[in-house]
Symmetry: C2
Subunit: 328 residues, 2 copies
């Protein structure tokens, strides 16, 4: 079912030559506006970015809070390419992509997708930015459950290249492929997560390290600032170039990862055995929260993002290495 008289043909797979792409964003929180900045900086020709939000001052809110990123990137688009939709129905009409970054609330998302299904073109891609609500649950009230795909960014998405694509069992291969192609063509790194795992993948990895970091600070081995210094001067830059498997594969010499575990598997196991098993609410919070606040006070996020972009520009220039490294 489609409200569009001329539903677009294969709009995403021809996106490089598609100068009439219509993206609709729902929700104007931090993530929604960050995606808006990204899309705006990558629009071609008369392509359209439509924003819908129930808040009354949405136009003013977008104008005041849109990250300035788009203005620094070569693109024919300007903020005038953003259209604020007067209603959800108007926002959905003729859209090739509908991307929701609304409240992290299952009820909201279930109702939203059921409504979207009524008004959006039937081959429009439907993406959710959720960091935790599986597509399978979001699509419960839809007739066609194959359409919804979680496209989980690493915050902020106008800077960070990763997008975790997390389908439900119902999500169609075609939706995954078209989504993958969209992001790859824009220089981003979409990764297809094969199971609806709690927390997806990036956060699970990061939280595992965070747990050990909290444990070591809690035990008085190092401070909060020292943990960050350690990571910033070792794993951070290393893993920006070569992830953990590649790094340890190299570290094992000619025998690869097996050589690595032959050499120091005992130490790895000792570290795992000795690792902290602390939980949220165990009482470490007071000390860790206080120390972190005392260490950092007020942080200039713009400065962090500017430096991160410089690093990502270097990595983009070296893409031939990175692409080869992430073949799988």
């Amino acid at each position: 079912m489609s409200n569009s008289e001329n539903p677009p043909q294969d709009p995403i797979s021809k996106v490089e030559s598609n100068k009439d792409l219509r993206i609709t964003l729902i929700g104007t929180g931090t993530i929604g506006l960050s995606f808006a900045a990204f899309h705006l900086s990558h629009l071609l020709g008369p392509s359209q970015l439509t924003i819908y939000d129930t808040r009354a001052d949405v136009a003013q809110h977008v104008e005041e809070n849109l990250p300035p990123f788009f203005a620094e990137k070569p693109s024919q688009a300007s903020i005038s390419n953003i259209r604020i939709a007067p209603s959800l129905e108007a926002a959905l009409k003729d859209a090739h992509i509908v991307q929701e970054s609304g409240p992290e609330n299952l009820d909201f998302k279930r109702k939203l997708w059921a409504e979207v299904e009524k008004h959006a073109p039937e081959n429009a891609l439907l993406w959710s930015s959720t960091s935790g609500i599986p597509a399978s649950q979001q699509a419960q009230d839809m007739k066609e459950k194959s359409r919804v795909l979680v496209v989980h960014p690493y915050n902020p998405p106008h800077i960070m290249p990763l997008l975790e694509l997390v389908p439900s069992r119902d999500t169609s291969e075609e939706v995954i492929e078209r989504t993958c192609e969209f992001w790859t063509k824009r220089g981003r790194v979409p990764v297809h997560i094969k199971k609806e795992t709690r927390g997806f993948v990036a956060n699970r990895l990061a939280f595992a390290l965070l747990r050990e970091a909290i444990h070591l600070v809690n035990e008085g081995v190092v401070s909060v600032g020292e943990i960050d210094s350690i990571v910033e001067s070792s794993m951070g830059p290393r893993w920006a170039v070569a992830g953990p498997f590649k790094s340890y594969y190299v570290g094992g010499g000619p025998a690869g990862l097996e050589g690595f575990f032959d050499n120091i598997g005992g130490t790895v196991q000792d570290c795992w055995d000795d690792s902290g098993k602390l939980n949220v609410g165990d009482g470490w919070e007071t000390k860790i929260f206080k120390q972190t606040k005392e260490t950092y006070g007020s942080v200039d996020v713009g400065e962090r993002d500017r430096i991160t972009r410089r690093l990502l520009d270097v990595l983009d220039q070296e893409k031939s290495y990175t692409t080869r490294s992430s073949a799988n």
Copy 2:
């Protein structure tokens, strides 16, 4: 006890003006040669780098395998500043710093330090590159146990800035301070680890993430190459700029790390509860080793290091931000 007639006065704390610094390296494996390249690129004036190794072809081995790093860095030193010592005693005479990167073998290190104590000037700094043998055990046979300090690099040390300084309970504050000053003045990041923790800190953090990564590949959620793509396009570049505590502190908004845990502490705990508890030898090895080898084949380590150095150069230029961020 010293064999030097004129033991150097406070040699390290005046190192910037010290143009007659004598560093002795013991061991010419990968780590030893990497440290040699670093020191050579930072020698001033007639300073001397002495290398001792029991292998017969040590001079040829050093010449052939020294990383080319030193040649690219501005320094008055050349490979001719390296002196190959004919004996341990000759290597130690007049040394300001004795740095061992010998076999990871407690017996070797115990005997070495007892011997070093007999021949090196009494205020020479004694550093071990060990990744796991505590200073307290290494110093067992010494008269003056306050002298040995673990200075654990992140491999390769001629590229990576981190040095974990891990004293025993006996190691003197003065030794720690002089060591810290030496590395800081050379633009490196020495971090004082307060307890002789198994695996120290950097490896513990990395191994915690690796455990979860292996678990997720083993469960078929993502592939080895996808784990690396995820980390390279999210945590890697982010943590190169702002470590995990700083990142989540920012992520919590005005309420900081407490705000972060208020918002998604439940998800964090769910991820921790659901995390893999696999151990070395559990049987995941066959699949993971094979997949890693198929993904990476032959890796150009020089290329990895070159790109890493480009990132570190950017971070060096942005040092004012990084320094502020790691205050503690």
